[in-house]
């Protein structure tokens, strides 16, 4: 079957989708967006977390056919998503500005996306969402397998909870397993992102 849906702000079409296929499979294998990871396929690990109509979900548990006509944001589109959100917030605080350029991230851009944070190893550049930069700065990434899911989940929490307590952070990330870091640096990263978000306002 064919599935039409919006991915990172742009309409996309997936063809030859098997009826029992998951959204995760469609993203990775049909649209070439391997950012969302497949680690368990049973909702246990959260490494496949994406936003479906704004809500964080495990993409391995969403049937592809269920996303018809709906809106998905993956880690590849997170930087642009965060940028537009920040812009919207600015526009709302100031007067309503014009919205420029086509919104979202094209498939080619998303496929080619690379972390370019201001880190000695990752090189210079400003194309990271604040939460991504915070993960780099806090050293919250080891093997990186859990990172995309954590980024999507943490970014969503900060959208609703600008000043999270540690308990809020733990709760929001309780569906994301990390087998490397022991979580402390991840906690640091989210606290850092929250603090920076506070300063920016």
């Amino acid at each position: 079957m064919r599935v039409n849906f919006t991915v990172n702000g742009r309409p996309q079409e997936a063809d030859d989708v098997w009826e029992g296929e998951s959204l995760l499979y469609v993203l990775r294998e049909r649209l070439g967006l391997p950012g969302s990871k497949n680690a368990c396929e049973q909702g246990e690990c959260g490494s496949c977390t994406v936003r479906l109509d704004g809500v964080p979900v495990c993409s391995c548990l969403v049937a592809a056919g269920q996303v018809e006509g709906r809106d998905v944001v993956t880690v590849e589109g997170l930087a642009e998503f965060a940028r537009q959100r920040a812009e919207r917030d600015r526009c709302e605080t100031a007067s309503r500005g014009d919205r420029t350029a086509a919104p979202g991230t094209s498939l080619d851009e998303a496929r080619a996306w690379q972390a370019r944070g201001s880190d000695s190893q990752a090189g210079e550049g400003g194309e990271l969402a604040p939460i991504q930069q915070a993960f780099i700065d806090a050293g919250a990434v080891q093997c990186g397998f859990c990172t995309p899911g954590l980024l999507v989940a943490a970014d969503e929490m900060l959208e609703h909870h600008p000043n999270p307590t540690d308990a809020d952070i733990r709760e929001a990330l309780s569906g994301n397993l990390c087998r490397c870091t022991g979580y402390e640096k991840i906690m640091d990263a989210v606290r850092l992102a929250a603090a920076r978000q506070g300063e920016a306002v």
Binding site: S22, V57, A63, G65, Q66, E68, E171
Partner: protein, 296 residues
């Protein structure tokens, strides 16, 4: 496999009538696991995501009509006052991502003895609204679970909503597992005090082939509370009453040994949870009594 996408409830019923083997999928948190692992290859998947009514709830005079697909996260946020037991149970479901998708309809459809919502529904008192093209009926929750992963639905029926009694007193929910998140219950216990009718109701999860109530324990506690005028004098429940209640709850279990725990452990844990939830609910009943007296 065929993917059926009804756009309305009527279309969903028609599809289920035409294809009684169709597997309904809403949050997908059970069904997709089975498909991903090749444990199940249904001929038809019946997607309920586009049936908007299933995501709505109405707070009525005596009960809440909870749409089958209202996600657990919404129950936690919006129905804490009306359905405190179910809200607590919802909070123990897996993780935020799962709570954003899963709802009570799925728990009921799967009817696993370990489903988190069951003890809370049994304790609060509930009816399942099932419908087919032949008509609609309400199944009392006590009659809904018919065996291990079996329920009272006919092949052409779908769950539309659950009517859960609004709390008229304190409710508690307790679950034993190896960690706080992402855990299937080793066993679980729900307790609701109903001061208006001077009754108590229980629900036990994962400690018998189906979710069950501990009826003998309920009757014992009701009699004990009545006899000593506890509802009126608000005294602390005597330890011997609490112990007897806990023992009777443990005796209501019919558990098995499995990877998550032994039968003996489950029985013991249910007794402990029964005693604790009784203490918690009774304390808050006494607190509420004092507060209303103070205000009067």
């Amino acid at each position: 496999m065929d993917f059926l996408r009804p756009a309305s409830w009527e279309e969903a019923l028609a599809a289920k009538a035409e294809h009684p083997t169709a597997v309904p999928i809403a949050g997908g948190t059970d069904v997709m696991v089975e498909i991903n692992f090749d444990h199940r290859r249904p001929e038809y998947l019946l997607d309920l995501n586009r049936v908007g009514d299933l995501y709505e709830w109405e707070v009525g005079q005596d009960s809440v009509r909870l749409g089958a697909s209202v996600p657990y996260s919404r129950i936690m946020e919006s129905l804490r006052a009306e359905l405190p037991g179910l809200a607590l149970a919802s909070h123990t479901v897996a993780s935020p991502q799962i709570r954003n998708r899963g709802g009570v309809g799925g728990n009921l459809g799967t009817a696993s003895p370990a489903g988190d919502a069951h003890p809370a529904l049994l304790a609060a008192g509930a009816e399942v609204e099932a419908e087919s093209v032949r008509g609609s009926r309400r199944i009392p929750i006590d009659a809904f679970y018919t065996g291990v992963k079996r329920n009272a639905l006919a092949p052409d029926e779908l769950i539309r909503a659950v009517h859960v009694k609004k709390a008229d007193g304190p409710q508690q929910y307790s679950k034993v597992g190896t960690r706080n998140a992402m855990v299937i219950a080793v066993c679980a216990f729900g307790l609701a005090l109903h001061p208006e009718t001077r009754t108590v109701r229980t629900g036990i999860g994962s400690a018998a082939p189906t979710p069950v109530r501990a009826r003998t324990a309920e009757e014992f506690l009701e009699a004990a509370l009545e006899e000593d005028g506890f509802w009126d004098n608000g005294k602390i429940i005597t330890p011997s009453v609490a112990k007897q209640f806990a023992d009777l709850c443990a005796a209501a279990c019919n558990p098995i040994d499995d990877v998550r725990g032994t039968a003996r452990y489950r029985r013991h844990a249910v007794g402990v949870m029964a005693r604790r939830t009784l203490t918690w609910t009774w304390e808050s009943y006494r607190g509420a009594r004092r507060a209303s007296k103070g205000a009067a």
